[in-house]
């Protein structure tokens, strides 16, 4: 069956198709991006300014950091929709520890550890108990959120440590225009671009997502790879949670509601396939950037929320459709 798949691939697609496919893929998004840039710049004098552009970078950073993790998970052939609830969860240990010890770093470490634990749980349920990842994380989506409500009693934990560092992480800017969050975001993006392209782990992730049985025949354990992917996804979601907490200056029980859909939409928009094995972080980045710019631009144009919803929804459908079109006629 693995074979027949490979054969069909080979015979469906004429040579050179892949090149066109990739280029069309990213270039298509780049064109879309450029078009949006032009439209918004023409429509609003405030859009195309250093300040606003640096704002955009700051604003997309949370989505992107999480998107990097989710992309890798999707490439491995699984999905996680509990990251929104996770954002609310991991902010708790951060704030609690930070208020207790006065150390941001200590808090951050504990928070990331907490995130990793959730990743392990998700991963084990999917790989060991063989429960479909969408269902598993749907359960977690409820479970984590409820847990947060219970332990916080729906009272936010605000920052008593008065650490400037904590505020700066999410709100500070280098040279007054480059947000620290953006620097972190690009660092993480480039790091994992490298991981996916240049490390055994990265390539094997594609193998596992592309065809688990073949991977297994090559002595790769899909289970172990997917588990790792789940952990990475949760940890990166936790990093985004730290940035959010810093931007909010507190741990808020309602944080991250609907975040998971936002990230999934952006990543798929960027050409990462829900089927696994296909996609790359450059695409994911462009997907996030496009949605971020749409949101910011429509805000700049004072478009009301109703129209924002309608427009964003339509653009998502359009983008995914174009992607499909491209895949069909190479």
């Amino acid at each position: 069956m693995a074979g027949t798949r490979a054969i069909h691939q080979a015979e469906k697609k004429p040579a050179g198709f892949f090149r066109r496919f990739v280029s069309v893929g990213e270039l298509g998004l780049l064109v879309m991006l450029a078009v949006l840039f032009v439209i918004f710049s023409v429509a609003s004098p405030y859009f195309f300014t250093v300040r606003n552009l640096s704002n955009i970078l700051g604003q997309i950073s949370m989505t992107l950091v999480a998107a990097v993790g989710l992309s890798m998970l999707l490439i491995s052939g699984e999905v996680d929709i509990s990251i929104g609830s996770l954002q609310a969860l991991v902010a708790l240990p951060l704030l609690v520890v930070m208020n207790a010890t006065g150390s941001f770093w200590l808090g951050a470490i504990v928070a990331l550890a907490a995130g990793a634990v959730v990743g392990v749980v998700n991963g084990l349920i999917v790989t060991r108990l063989k429960v479909n990842s969408l269902i598993t994380t749907l359960g977690m989506y409820y479970l984590l959120r409820g847990f947060v409500y219970l332990v916080t009693g729906k009272v936010p934990i605000s920052d008593q440590s008065g650490k400037d560092l904590f505020f700066l992480v999410g709100n500070g800017k280098l040279f007054g225009f480059l947000p620290y969050t953006a620097i972190l975001m690009f660092a993480i993006l480039l790091l994992f671009m490298w991981v996916l392209r240049s490390t055994t782990f990265g390539r094997r992730l594609y193998a596992v997502g592309g065809n688990p049985s073949v991977a297994r025949a090559m002595g790769i354990s899909p289970e172990r790879m997917k588990l790792t992917a789940f952990i990475l996804c949760s940890v990166l979601a936790s990093v985004s949670a730290l940035l959010l907490a810093s931007r909010l200056g507190s741990a808020v029980h309602t944080a991250g509601i609907g975040f998971e859909f936002q990230v999934v939409a952006a990543v798929v928009l960027g050409g990462v396939s829900l089927a696994g094995g296909i996609g790359n972080l450059l695409g994911a980045f462009l997907g996030v950037l496009i949605l971020g710019i749409i949101q910011n631009g429509l805000g700049m144009l004072e478009v009301n929320t109703m129209w924002q919803l309608v427009v964003t929804g339509s653009i998502i459908i359009l983008a995914v459709f174009l992607d499909e079109l491209k895949k069909r006629h190479g």
């Binding site: 090149r19 990739v22 280029s23 990213e26 270039l27 780049l30 991006l33 450029a34 840039f37 004098p45 405030y46 195309f48 300014t49 250093v50 300040r51 606003n52 552009l53 704002n55 700051g58 604003q59 949370m62 009693g153 729906k154 009272v155 936010p156 934990i157 605000s158 920052d159 505020f167 999410g170 709100n171 225009f177 671009m193 392209r197 959010l244 810093s246 931007r247 909010l248 200056g249 507190s250 808020v252 029980h253 309602t254 944080a255 509601i257 609907g258 790359n280 450059l282 462009l286 950037l289 949101q295 910011n296 805000g299 700049m300 004072e302 009301n304 929320t305 109703m306």
Partner: protein, 347 residues
Amino acid sequence: MKRKLTVLAVVLLALLFTASVAFAGGGEEKAAAAGRIPKRVGWIGNYMMHEWYQNVQKGMKARAEELGIELVILDSNQDMARQVSLAEDLIAKNVDVIILTPAQQEGAVPIVKKAKAEGVPLVIEASAVEGMITMVAICDYDCGYKGGVETGKYVKASLGGKARVLAVDLPMLRPCILRVDGFMDGLKTIIPDAVLVHRIDGQGLKDQALQVATDALTADPNVNVIYGCNDDSALGALQAYRAAGLDEKKLVVCGTGGEGNAFIHAMQEGGPYKVEAAMFPEAVGYECINMAVKLHNGESVPEHYVTPTFALTTENWNKYYSLSGEVRTINWDAVNAIPREPQCGKY
């Protein structure tokens, strides 16, 4: 091939941004500091699609027009992360004053800091944020309290002096908790032995309130007072009560807010919906603009500017509102005449 593309893409993006830096001159120049009246005021609403904010907006727009202020209205749509971004957007748009309705109080602290840093005056609407200069808001506790007193009177007069209360709360928001507390305290001043038999979370949504109230009323069918921390909560619970086939003669409902026209219809139909702890959103919006002007001119302002609240009843509601078709208009004189508490009984 792929690597080439990556490079290409990064380069392209880099270009776009550097270009923008070069471009930057245009938007960067601050709007020339205005005279007495700010040129542009920006409002970050929290849930603009909700009727309450629609009416706050009415008041704001009315006042802004009177003073010839350009009003920029944005909506965080209950997304805290978005709210911070929008604050940045507004600062980028060089507004003279920002009015903020926090999607979440604690979550708004960084915005206060940002505004301070950028030297943009900030008016907070609705709920207090640590480190803020000033807030325009009702007193939630006192609003509920007034509702409680008025409800108590009705209970004493028509329901035999016993009050068993079902409160449909929204514990997610502190103001709602305050309202329920206030309501009970107010009620107890008239009916000392009033009991809060069940306090449920209706999420401020009518369908949710309906569902949880259905269950709660099964647990305590002998409830005779329903209090909702907003109108939808109260109306949802009332629907549940009706559906349960319980006797409407034995019930009084008190809603909070006067967000839209729903409570007026409810009162007009002559059912158990007797009391509305009104919060006059139009007035809130109106005062927000006034406060914005004050701040712009560096006048001294109170930390909390209290806007009026009043317990409306089936008899007197039309002194404050008139409804023609679906358009409700506020009677300013009556509303401004309402005595306002210097500061709230509880925060």
